[in-house]
Amino acid sequence: MSAPLVTRQDEFLKTDELFINLGPQHPSTHGVLRVGLTVKGEVIVKAVPDVGYLHRGTEKLSEVRGYHHCVVLTDRWDYVAAMPNNLVFCLAAEKLMNLQVPERANYLRTIMCELNRIASHLLFFGTYGIDIGAFTPFLYAFREREMVLDLFEMACGARLTYNYIRLGGVMSDITPEWTSKTREFLDYFKARLEEYDSLLTYNPIFQDRTKTVGLVSADQAIAWGLSGPNLRASGVDYDARKFEPYAAYDKVRFEVPLGKGGSCFDRYFCRVREMGESVRIVEQCLDQMKEGEFMAKGVAKVPKPQPGEAYAHVEGARGNLGIYLVSDGGQSPYRMHVRAPSFINLAILQEILEGKKVADVIAILGSIDIVLGEVDR
């Protein structure tokens, strides 16, 4: 899999290895990631990802905050897709408190999570284009992402850190205007997906750059604990929405796009096709949703759940996002632990980067699609 590191040239020419700090201030590390690269010419000998530049200690902070306040903290992990973060904390806390969520709230949660998945994958699509060197897809993606953010702004007033999904339901109900705007967006967006394919996906240079690069076998993916599109690109059929449905995912029909080889292109294409599936899910939810309550009755203002523990996980935009909550009966969690998919996906970098070219580092790093807010929490 890796290119030969020692070529015949080395016997005659004395060459030196070069250490390059890729980051933490670099245009394509998507935040403050540092990768220590040891290169021989253009070939990577060793790559060590270094994280922790954006650590804010949200897990510790949650131990001195009430359950309602913790939802606010969750927005700051994966700030590109904050709805699933809200949702996973609420699911875990609701398990602790034995709260029943109304039907309409479940649908609203599903809609918001899927719209947020579209927004997040659009960001990936755009930035991945930039990583490969195509600038235009970025602005196309942001044109559509802007519309999704407008929808969020209409629904909850915030565009990035929503705090929309609350314990026992959601913050506010949606309006008929919102529904019609959303349908308008979905119709528009379906045509744009084809445009993306013709612009970037089927571009021969793009395929050449990504199809044979960063191969991750299914065994490797499972061994490193990959999840989300990174895992499914290697051909492993696992999606928490399908296999342990939460919210309203058991009431909608959708497919889980799978890749074959686990290359960068597979990871990219899985995400692009997931956007299409998200459109399907949102449309079905809008069709099926009935009038009703959007918030459960009798959610305590200062919840003090019984001592115990709960684990909940959802399929976030970046993978399997899990939360382990321990309560000691007090008004704030005794311990909160986050299974952050970005952090775990990042670890495989040191294995698959060896023997690749410098240009491939960017292609692989981009295809794993990390958000440093979630890596460092």
């Binding site: 490969i132 600038f135 235009t136 309006t175 205007e177 308008e184 970037l200 410098v358």
Partner: protein
């Protein structure tokens, strides 16, 4: 002095120049001691934090302009129709202007005779005349990037559904590049401590000078070459090749690892792509039988069947292969997407010019655009008949040759810009494969094909 509006300003004014308003304390005597009965506390009404009743959830965005609205019927927008009209008027005006001016060569001859009339010795006259030509060509090269950068920004913006610069200069931000240039002039010139100072200082100069020199034999129309030399093509390729040294020097002298990688990459890339670029025009030289750019352009005069111009791009198979290889190699030579590997910004930050600032940086920029212009001029001269009209009929033949040459050049420049904002970037090794295993062999095959043409 205008009257101060708020009380704080009033106090400030009274302490200062204006003596009309005495200090507030002097007018209002201190209040007498408060009565024994304390004043009743004002009743503070705590309102329930409710949402604004007018808020229906849609207010925040209902008036925001979504692309869905615009794309339904663009012609219903007044600005769209007005823009189309303005564009039509612009083209028509340009047509009228060029037709009125006519060929530039007679004007040049007039100027030359005026110069020789003013100066007694013919030696001085020819010296002044050469200086004038140098000035004109120099200004073409120095002014063209100002336009090209603005044009590139507009084109990229419209490709990406944006507007681009719209403010500076009033009309569509046409002065934006001038403003940027002035800003770059005033920027601090930073030389990193780790840099090799003299090489760092020399590098941009070595990149720019060949770019300017290379324009000497270009003929911008009929009899409009500054230096009509017989080895023009050879001269251009030889001089333009020198720029590589400057880029390698820039990469090496910056004392930055990214710059070093960028410099080495560009050395490999530019030297490699010189080969297919030169070999791809060998068929053209064979057909024209000359290395003189004016003669090459003139040899393409005439029309097949009275309609199709006898440009080399229209020679079946050979012409197209030649044109494509030349275009691709030219894009690579100018370090632009999809071959912008030396300055791949997502990998190497900015490649060889990472550590350059101010005017040094803008010299690299100038050289890049000068080379884009040069490549486009060469393409127009080699493959599109120089200043020849594409159609032999009246309205087209009114347009003089320099205008046709300009239009063709700008058309090719547009292709360069179009590529840049559409394609992703190659990887280094694939770039080399593409050059050595694809372009170069095909350029050889093309020479063989061209020789068959000549034999028939």
């Amino acid at each position: 002095m205008s009257a101060p509006k708020n009380p704080a300003d009033k106090h400030a004014a009274s302490n200062g120049s204006s003596a009309k308003v005495p200090p507030a304390a002097a007018v209002v005597p201190p209040a007498p001691a408060a009565p024994a009965k304390p004043a009743p506390k004002p009743k503070v009404e705590i309102k329930e934090p409710v949402f604004n009743p007018a808020y229906k959830g849609a207010l925040l965005t209902h008036d925001r302009y979504w692309p869905t609205q615009r794309w339904k019927a663009p012609w219903s927008l007044r600005s769209y129709r007005r823009g189309a009209l303005a564009l039509g008027a612009l083209l028509l005006g340009a047509f009228g202007l060029t037709a009125a001016v006519g060929e530039l060569a007679p004007w040049g001859a007039l100027l030359q005779s005026a110069v020789s009339g003013l100066l007694s010795s013919s030696f001085a006259a020819s010296g002044v005349w050469i200086l004038l030509k140098v000035l004109v060509v120099l200004h073409i090269i120095l002014v063209a990037p100002i336009f090209l950068v603005w044009w590139e920004r507009k084109i990229s913006a419209h490709i990406q559904s944006r507007l681009g610069p719209m403010t500076v200069g009033g009309w569509h931000g046409w002065l934006q590049t001038v403003a940027d240039g002035i800003k770059l002039l005033f920027k601090e010139d930073i030389t990193p401590i780790a840099a090799d100072r003299w090489v760092h200082r020399l590098a941009p100069v070595i990149v720019v000078i060949p770019a300017i020199l290379a324009f000497a034999p270009i003929s911008f129309g009929r009899e409009l070459a500054a230096a009509d030399i017989d080895v023009g093509v050879l001269y251009i390729f030889a001089v333009a090749g020198v720029s590589v040294i400057g880029i390698v020097m820039a990469g090496w002298a910056s004392g930055n690892k990214y710059s070093l990688l960028g410099g080495l990459r560009s050395a490999a890339q530019l030297v490699s792509y010189e080969l297919p670029r030169s070999f791809s025009i060998v068929p053209v030289l064979m057909f024209a039988g000359s290395l003189n750019l004016t003669r090459i352009a003139d040899s393409q005069a005439g029309y097949w069947f009275g309609v199709i111009p006898r440009w080399y791009i229209f020679y079946p198979v050979v012409g197209q292969i030649s044109f494509l290889i030349f275009l691709i190699a030219s894009v690579a030579e100018t370090n632009r997407v999809p071959f912008d590997i030396p300055e791949a910004e997502s990998e190497l930050v900015a490649g060889f010019h990472t550590e350059f600032s101010g005017m040094k940086f803008s010299l690299f920029f100038l050289a890049e655009y000068a080379y884009v212009l040069l490549a486009s001029c060469l393409t127009a001269a080699f493959f599109m008949g120089g200043g020849g009209s594409p159609l032999p009929w009246a309205p087209w033949t009114w347009i003089p040759s320099w205008a046709w040459f300009l239009a063709k050049t700008l058309g090719i420049v547009f292709c360069f810009l179009w590529f840049r904002w559409t394609f992703p970037r190659f990887r280094v090794d694939r770039l080399m494969d593409f050059n050595w295993k694809f372009l170069l062999p095909w350029s050889f095959v093309n020479i063989a094909l061209a020789s068959i043409y000549l034999l028939i």
